[in-house]
Assembly symmetry: C4
Homo-oligomer: 229 residues x 4
C-alpha cells in the first residue's frame, strides 16, 4: 500500500504541472448550486388554492411570500457575486479550500428552507411562530457568514493558492467583513426574538444590500472610475 | 482599512490584466438558470388525479396546461437566444452588468409561476380568475422586457465592456425593441383585463415568436444568406 | 432602422471571425437540461405514505416506479450520448440549429411526465389507463425521434456548420436511424394500444438499449478495436 | 450502409486527432447532476404543517431530517471530490467510461430518495420501518460503491484513456477502496437489520467522513506538506 501511495505521489507532481485551471470544476459546480438555489426559491411561489373567483384575493394575500422571494434572491445573488470575486483571485484549489467552499454551498442551500419558514409564519402563524422563523433565518445567516469566514481565513493562510499579485491582506480584510456578518445576523436574530419581528425583517432585507454594495465586487465601481480618468 | 482598500485596488489592476473571459461565470450561471427554469415548467405537467379508467379524460381535460407549457418554453427559449446573442458581444462584465443580468434572470425565473397561474385559472377558475392570471403573466412580461431594457441601456452606455467592433448603435437598437416589448406586454395585459382573455392569450403566444424571428439572433439568417452569395 | 441593421451586419462579420467555440453555450445549456431531466426522474421515487410498519410493503408495491425510473434514465442517458456524439462533429451553430436543438430538449424534458404517467397507471389505473399511458410514452418517443430527425436533416444540409473532415453522409445515415426511431416508437405505441401493454413496455425498455449500442457513439468501440491492432 | 460506416470511421480519426478535452462534457454534465442532487436533498427540509404557535415544536421534532440532510450532503460532497480526483487523471473518455460514469450518477441520484426514507421512518415509522429504511440506504451505498468499482476497474484496464504519468496502479488501489466500500455498506445494512438501527446510522454517517479523509483527494494534504518542505 505504501508503494501504491508513492506512485500516486509521483502522479500528482506530473499531472499538476500541466494544470492551471484547477478551480474550473469547483466554479462550475458552485455556479450550478447557486443557480438551483436561486431558482428553487421560486418554487415557494405556489399557485394558491382558492375558490373560483378568489384568485386575485389569495394572490394578494400571500404578499409575504413575494417579499421573502425578493429578499432571498438578493441574498443569493450577493453570495454569487462574492463567490465570483473570491475565486477570481484563486489560482488553484486544494482539499481544504474545497471543503470550505462546500460549507458555503451547504449554507446557501438552506436559504430556500428558512425563506419558506418566514413566509409561512407571516401568512399562517402567530407572533411566536414569526419569532421562531426570523430566528431560524438569522441562524442560517450566521452559519453562512461563518462559512465565508472559514473560506477567507483559509485563503489568507494559503497564499500559494492565490493568483499572483493578490496579497494576503485582501482576504484578511474580507475575513473582517465576514466576522461582521456573523455579528450582524446574530443581532438581527436577537432583535427579531426579543424586540420586533418587522424591524428584524427590515434588517434582514438590508443586510444583503449592504454587502452587495460594499463587497469585493466593488472592483466594478473602481474600474469604471478608472476608465473615466 | 483605507490601507486594505489600497492594496485591493492594486490587486485588481494586476489580476484583471491577465483575464479575458470575465463573462464566463455570468454565462455559465445564466445558462444553468435558463435550463432550470425551462425544465421547471414541465413540473406543472402533473399526472392528474383520476379514478381508474379516467386517465385519458383527465389528461385531455388539462389541455390549457400543455398550451401554457409550449408558450412558456418558447418564451424562455427566445430569452436564452437573446441572452446568447447579447453576451456574444460583451467582452467583460462589471458589477453593473451583473446586476442587470441578475434582473433578467429574476424575471425569467418568475415565468413558471405565472404559467401555472394561467393554466390553473383556465382549468379551474372563473372568468375573473382568468383575467387576473393573464394580467399577472403580462406583468411578468413587462418586468422582463424592462430588465432587458436596463441591460441594453447599460451596454449602450458602457462601450468599454463590448467586444471590439461592436458599435453602441447595436444596443441602442435593441433598447428600442425591449421598450416595444414593455408596451406590447402592457397592451396584452390590458386586452386580457378589459377585452378578451382568449385574444390576450393568442397575443402572449405570438409575442415570443415575433421576438424569436426578429431578435439579434437573426445573424444566423444573415450568415446563411452570405454563404450562398 | 435600415442603417442600424447595416451596422449590426458589420458587427457580425467582425465578431464571428474571432470566435470558434460558437457551440459552447448550446452545449453547456443542453448538458444542464439533460442533467436536470435525469435528476427530475428521481422525484417520482416518492416516499410512499404508509401506516407504521408498512414501509417495506409499500416500497415493494411501487416496483413499476423503479422500472420506469431505470427505463427513462437509460433513455435520457442514450440521448445525452447521442447529443455529445452529434455536437462533437459541429463546428459552429446558427439559429436554425439552435431551434432544432431546443426541439430535442423540449421533447427530452417531457420524459419525466410520461414516465410518471406509466408508473401511475400500472400502480393505480386499470387496463385502459395503462394503454393510455403507454401510448403517451410512445408519442413522446415519436416526438423525440422526430426532433432528432429534424436536427440531423438540418446538419446534413448545412455542411458549413460541421467540423472539417465530417462528411454530410454521416448525418444522412443518422437521419435514417432517427426515422427508424419514429417508426419503432409508433409500433411500440400501437402494440401497447391494440395488443399487449407488457409487450409494449418491454419494447420501450429495449429501444434505448438498442440505440445505446448502435448510435454514433459507437466510436468508443471502434477506437478500442483500433487500439488493439 | 457499410460504406456509410467506413466514412464515419474516417470522420472519427480526423476529428479526434484535434480534440483533447474529450472529457469536458462528461465533467460538465456530472457537475450539474451532483449540484442538483445535493440541492434536491434540501427539498426534504419541508416547512412542517403545524397549528399557529406550534412551529418551533414541529421544527425541533423533525431533527432526524436535519441529520439525514447533513449525512447525505457529506456523502454527495465526498463523491463529488472523488469524481474530481478521478477525472483529473483521465485524458479522454470512450463509451465504456461514459456508461460507468452514468452508473455512478444513477446511484448518486438515488441518495435523496433513501435519505427521505430514513428520515420518514425515524419520524413516523415503527422499529421495522427504521430497519427497512436503513437497509435501503445501505443498498444504495452498496450500489454506489459497486459503480465506483466498475469505473475504477475500467480505468485500470484502459491506460490509453489516462493522463500521461498516471500509472494503472493508482486505479488498482482505488478499486480496492471501492470494494471495501461495498463490504462496509453491506455490513452497515446488516447491522441495521439484525443488530441496532442507531449503530448503523452512526456507521452510515462515519463512512463518508472516512472516505473524505482518505480518498484520492488526499493530494491536497500531500501538496501542502510538500510546500512546507
Amino acid at each position: 500500500m505504501a508503494a501504491g501511495r508513492d506512485s500516486e505521489d509521483v502522479d500528482e507532481v506530473e499531472i499538476e504541472a500541466g494544470l492551471r485551471s484547477d478551480t474550473a470544476r469547483a466554479i462550475g459546480f458552485s455556479d450550478a448550486v447557486f443557480a438551483i438555489v436561486i431558482t428553487l426559491l421560486v418554487l415557494d411561489l405556489r399557485v394558491p388554492e382558492s375558490a373560483p373567483g378568489g384568485m386575485l384575493h389569495s394572490l394578494l394575500d400571500q404578499w409575504p411570500v413575494y417579499l421573502a422571494y425578493v429578499t432571498s434572491y438578493l441574498y443569493v445573488a450577493v453570495n454569487w457575486l462574492n463567490h465570483k470575486g473570491t475565486f477570481h483571485r484563486v489560482r488553484c484549489a486544494d482539499r481544504g479550500l474545497h471543503w470550505a467552499n462546500l460549507g458555503v454551498l451547504f449554507s446557501v442551500a438552506l436559504l430556500p428552507f428558512v425563506t419558506a419558514l418566514v413566509s409561512r409564519a407571516v401568512e399562517k402563524g402567530d407572533a411566536f411562530d414569526e419569532r421562531v422563523a426570523v430566528a431560524a433565518y438569522a441562524v442560517v445567516g450566521i452559519v453562512l457568514s461563518a462559512a465565508w469566514l472559514w473560506l477567507y481565513h483559509y485563503l489568507s493562510r494559503h497564499r500559494e493558492l492565490l493568483q499572483a499579485g493578490v496579497t494576503a491582506r485582501f482576504f484578511e480584510a474580507e475575513r473582517i467583513r465576514a466576522a461582521l456578518g456573523v455579528v450582524a445576523y446574530a443581532i438581527a436574530g436577537a432583535v427579531g426574538w426579543w424586540v420586533s419581528v418587522p424591524v428584524a425583517l427590515v434588517v434582514l432585507l438590508l443586510l444583503p444590500l449592504f454587502y452587495g454594495l460594499t463587497s469585493n465586487g466593488s472592483y466594478g465601481l473602481l474600474r469604471r472610475l478608472r476608465h473615466r480618468r
